[in-house]
């Protein structure tokens, strides 16, 4: 991990696929991260707005409120959000759509292309300051 702090890094995982959420939580917990998994977009937005998280893993296709809308709303309402927002998806978007999303987030990951451990390694390398 890049931060030297006594407190564990807090991760908000907005993911409606139960097994995927479970896998990510397991892998992250083993590395010492604190993980909350929320399956609904609107609920995820509320949690994120609390600004208590260091990392937000945000799926694009979620019920309640689309990931893109959560992202837009979050940036609008909490411009000084400390969390790094990582978009996760298995959707293949065209360049335009992807760039629109990437410009508002800190990273963009295709879930099928990384394993939970690889995700953890990626988060380990993030600069959270």
């Amino acid at each position: 991990m890049t931060t030297i702090s006594a407190e564990p890094i807090r991760v908000l995982c907005v993911e409606d696929e139960e097994f995927i959420g479970e896998l990510y939580k397991r892998a992250l917990n083993r590395e010492g991260y604190d993980v909350d998994v929320i399956a609904d977009g609107a609920e995820g937005l509320e949690k994120a707005k609390s600004n208590l998280y260091d990392i937000v893993l945000l799926d694009i296709m979620i019920p309640g409120m689309l990931g893109m809308d959560v992202l837009t709303e979050l940036r609008k309402v909490t411009p000084k959000l400390k969390a790094k927002i990582i978009i996760t998806t298995n959707l293949e978007q065209n360049d335009e759509a992807r760039q629109a999303v990437e410009s508002m987030a800190d990273a963009y990951i295709i879930k099928a292309e990384i394993t939970p451990r690889q995700l953890v390694e990626f988060l380990n390398k993030l600069d959270l300051n």
Binding site: I20, I110, A112
Partner: protein, 510 residues
């Protein structure tokens, strides 16, 4: 017919020619008789016989030479007529400089013949005529191009297809229409006509036009070439037939595939995740060690599945000209080493070993990392697939060629490629032969690899001997050369579209 003067001149020339030769012959015979009778004191009959004999031989030789000269004007005229015939005949245009007899007459006639055959330069004058009115109302796009590919005429339908807000007459055709061909491009065909033909016609079924900034459109295209030596006159008449409904329907294929891919990826993500959990358990000793190999095989299979899903998606994108690559400057030695390292598990599980040889001092290259990794993965996968259990070696080597390209070769010592398959190897789904080993596969890997390498301005090739193995090689460009050609200079990124079509642009011909 040529000016009357030319005919008189030609007649005078031929008359002079014949008279001179007749006089010369007469004087020659007399002189020869006198010489022979002086040198050899034969009787007159003998002398006459000898002179006659000599003269007959000379007459035959000279007669043949003269006949050729006399026929030359006619020969050149015939050549010109054959040259302009609509059916292609491999005849060069006549070289009129070689003519001595009747040069002006024949040159004039040849020019007339070309003039009748060419009859170019009509289209731009058509407006206002009854023919012009019909052209304006045709639901078919009609355009004329001059020798510089500038539009001399365009009917309203053609202008509609251009999606240009301003008038298109006078503009460069190729900057308004970005056309993709499956076979010979329009630009190449016109160049061929310039050297070989006076009139020619070609029909392309199924071309794509991407009017800049607009959706891809599908057409049939007919082009008629009429050589004209005059500037600004129409040389090529292009007719386009809208086939968007027929060919455009294929585009729906991409959204279906994108949907299918998304659905496939979710269970795939989950599978890969849990396989990793099992690997952790193996490491921690809670799973029997002999099952460790099974877990590795599951991992390799899931990676293969993920790669295949990506492959079908990329192929669908390529078909729709929607796969964009961004080429960056990379250290090829590092990139290749990493890619091969990632493939280590896959090769080990299949009982194969990769030997990597990198030439020192390679220049940086312009590549899209992910695409190149896909190409190498495809080639290695093929080597693994087509090597029987006792052939375990796969050699990978990379070096700078003498043309200044970075070439990479993947070599196996397995089954090799059967001769009948070779010409179709890089086509989609070319794997429709079944050898006795019944090897499975999608038939997409090489098709995809070729499209990706072509988008990198490289070449991909194969050398193979059945029963001995195969070598698959591809070239990529050093970054310095790439940015020079793209003139991207300061901007360190080069964008390319990968597709299975041929772009109608000189940049794509490398």
């Amino acid at each position: 017919m040529g000016e009357p003067g030319y005919l008189e001149k030609a007649l005078a020339a031929i008359r002079t020619y014949i008279v001179v030769w007749l006089i010369f012959s007469g004087l020659f015979i007399v002189g020869l008789y006198w010489t022979v009778s002086q040198i050899f004191a034969f009787n007159p009959i003998m002398t006459t016989g000898i002179v006659a004999g000599i003269w007959i031989v000379i007459a035959i030789v000279l007669g043949s030479l003269m006949a050729k000269q006399v026929l030359l004007p006619l020969k050149y005229l015939a050549q010109a007529i054959l040259h302009v015939s609509p059916t292609p005949v491999a005849i060069a245009p006549p070289d009129l400089e070689k003519l001595t007899l009747g040069k002006e007459l024949i040159s004039n006639l040849v020019r007339q013949v070309y003039g009748y055959a060419a009859r170019g330069g009509g289209l731009e004058q058509v407006a206002g005529t009854p023919a012009g009115v019909s052209l304006q109302q045709l639901p078919i796009g009609v355009m004329g191009l001059d020798a510089e590919a500038r539009i001399t005429y365009a009917n309203p339908k053609a202008k509609e297809y251009s999606h240009s807000p301003t008038d298109i007459v006078g503009k460069d055709f190729y900057s308004l229409f970005d056309i993709l061909f499956r076979e010979q491009t329009l630009v190449d065909w016109v160049a061929e006509c310039e050297t070989n033909a006076v009139t020619a016609q070609k029909f392309w079924r199924g071309i794509r036009m991407n009017p800049f900034g607009e959706k891809t459109q599908y057409f049939d295209l007919c082009a008629r070439y009429n050589k004209t030596l005059e500037k600004d006159k129409t040389q090529v008449v292009i007719t386009v037939f809208d086939q968007n409904e027929v060919y455009g329907a294929e585009e729906k294929g991409l959204s279906f595939i994108a949907l299918a891919v998304h659905e496939l990826r979710t269970p795939l993500t989950i599978l890969r995740g849990y396989i990793e959990v099992f690997q952790d358990e193996v490491k921690e000793g809670s799973i029997k060690p002999e099952l460790a190999v099974f877990v590795k095989k599951m991992q390799v299979s899931s990676e293969n599945l993920a790669a295949f899903v990506n492959n079908i998606l990329n192929v669908a994108k390529i078909e729709e000209n929607q796969l964009t690559l961004k080429l960056h400057e990379e250290n090829w030695s590092d990139v290749l080493t990493k890619i091969i390292a990632n493939l280590k598990l896959r090769t080990e599980v299949s009982g194969k070993k990769i030997e990597l040889e990198i030439a020192p001092g390679l220049p940086t290259v312009g590549i899209d990392r992910i695409s190149i990794a896909e190409v190498i993965t495809n080639l290695i996968d093929n080597s693994i697939k087509y090597s029987p259990p006792d052939k375990t070696l796969i050699k990978v080597r990379t070096y700078l060629t003498k043309d200044g390209f970075v070439e990479t070769i993947v070599q196996d010592f397995g089954l090799g490629v059967p001769t009948q398959v070779m010409p179709h190897l890089f086509e989609k789904f070319s794997r429709n032969y079944r050898n006795k080993n019944n090897i499975i596969g999608s038939g997409l890997g090489l098709y995809l690899s070729k499209a990706l390498i072509t988008a990198h301005s490289g070449n991909i090739w194969v050398r193979s001997k059945e029963g001995e193995g195969s070598e698959f090689g591809f070239t990529i460009m050093p970054f310095a050369r790439l940015s020079e050609e793209e003139k991207s200079g300061v901007n360190k990124e080069v964008t390319r579209n990968a597709h299975g079509w041929i772009k109608n642009h000189s940049l794509s011909r490398r």
